[in-house]
Symmetry: C2
Subunit: 264 residues, 2 copies
Amino acid sequence: MSTKPKPQPQQNHLLAALSPEVQGRLFPYLELVPLPLRALLYESRRPMRHVYFPTDSIVSLQYVMENGASTAISVVGNEGLLGITLFLGGETTPSRSLVQSAGYAYRLPRLRVKEEFNRHGQLLMLMLRYTQALITQVSQTAVCNRHHSIDQQVCRWLLLSMDRLSHNHLTMTQEFIGNMLGVRREGVTQAALKLQQLGVITYSRGLIKVIDRPKLETLSCECYSVVKKETDLLLHYLPQRQVITNTDSIPTVTLGTPEAVRSL
Amino acid sequence: MSTKPKPQPQQNHLLAALSPEVQGRLFPYLELVPLPLRALLYESRRPMRHVYFPTDSIVSLQYVMENGASTAISVVGNEGLLGITLFLGGETTPSRSLVQSAGYAYRLPRLRVKEEFNRHGQLLMLMLRYTQALITQVSQTAVCNRHHSIDQQVCRWLLLSMDRLSHNHLTMTQEFIGNMLGVRREGVTQAALKLQQLGVITYSRGLIKVIDRPKLETLSCECYSVVKKETDLLLHYLPQRQVITNTDSIPTVTLGTPEAVRSL
DNA sequence: CACCATCTGTGGGCTACTGTACCGAATTCG
DNA sequence: CGAATTCGGTACAGTAGCCCACAGATGGTG
């Protein structure tokens, strides 16, 4: 606890893009929470209490069917937020939010979001833009599920996950990837074997290292680049974008409550 | 042209849900446009000029891949609108909008939408709610593409389309349904044959009649009902919902310009 | 060190869907 | 009316992914 640097709100692109004025209003209410692997941020059809802004964690939106099979419909990292439902007006969703890569997130109580939302300023605009990027991702998942091979989908998944981390390795088992893509573990094994033989990745017991990222991109289907480009377009050229320069200038308030998060 | 009743703005659920005040501001700018079968409202990645509110037409959001294969990612009828991008802030999308069932829509120039949007009132709220319903539909398409059989998906498609019409027949060929679902025409033929043998539908040369709707629902996967329930929840219990009583009390202004719409 | 749980690799049989090809029936159009 | 086009039905071989079962490998734990 003493060695690791504490994540800063600005590591989340959306929070970073807010003007100092809005940051000043909101940041005092931000609460830093650790997101352990496989924690559930939201259960499906349950009311949500916070909006989460990941700093170094990755969270998947996942739909679980009546028979228990599941599919991830999108991936959210420090480029986005969880809980769009709260400002879209629905309160709940059919999907749930599952932590796919452990890390931290800042969260904001529902009430604060709505309050800021009603000022109709930057936060609204940002959230709406992000919503569109998310829709693109969900759409492309639908397309990919229909038309592309498991091999291609594994590539897409690795790339999407990598983009949301600052290093070239992922901690996830083939079984887990299978759950996310909605395919069998054996299918993922076959895909992983091929990628390893091609010298694109190496892996062992849940630790995947990406060696040749450019090649990984060529092996993926177009779905990855469509999502990537669209997300960059919508979120990377934001007004007021702040680069993280001095990491200790902004006060963060409460330290996390793990047990509040962990529900499975 | 003389016999058919002219569609009224209130046939669109979203327009109908607006208060008289907002209606008074917006309706003078509504333009009625006919949407012929297979017209393209928006081409992918092209700027949009209007938001469309279908009255009795159905429009599909469709993604076309580099190799020409396509998949519909959602269906929009009089419960919704086309052009969410315009208020989400993105201006364009990777998907295109294709008329799936001919009819009419009212459209509003981009500028008017933004103007009304900036008032941060009902229209914003409505659009956001609809956006969430749309996300649900796209998500469920992704799930369905992954896990369900062509038979089930055809059922889902028929039901989603039926819900957006006021009668029990659909005008679409098996080839067309194949394009929408992203499967071969032959697969749709097999599914249609089964449904006909079960006495659920009859069809001939692009005209499908649904005879036993309850049975159709049981044959569909859960994806249909998830979308249906979520949409009802979000949009059917809207504040200020107006029932259409007198159809000629509200003035509509301009008559449509077909050639402006037809781009394929 | 021995054990155990977890993770990964492999094989056989099965099914749904694909690609291709062809044909008849219905409808439209010159 | 005859030709052309569209729509729907059928057949067959090929394959990707599924279900099931089992086995080897790795790493943590008592």
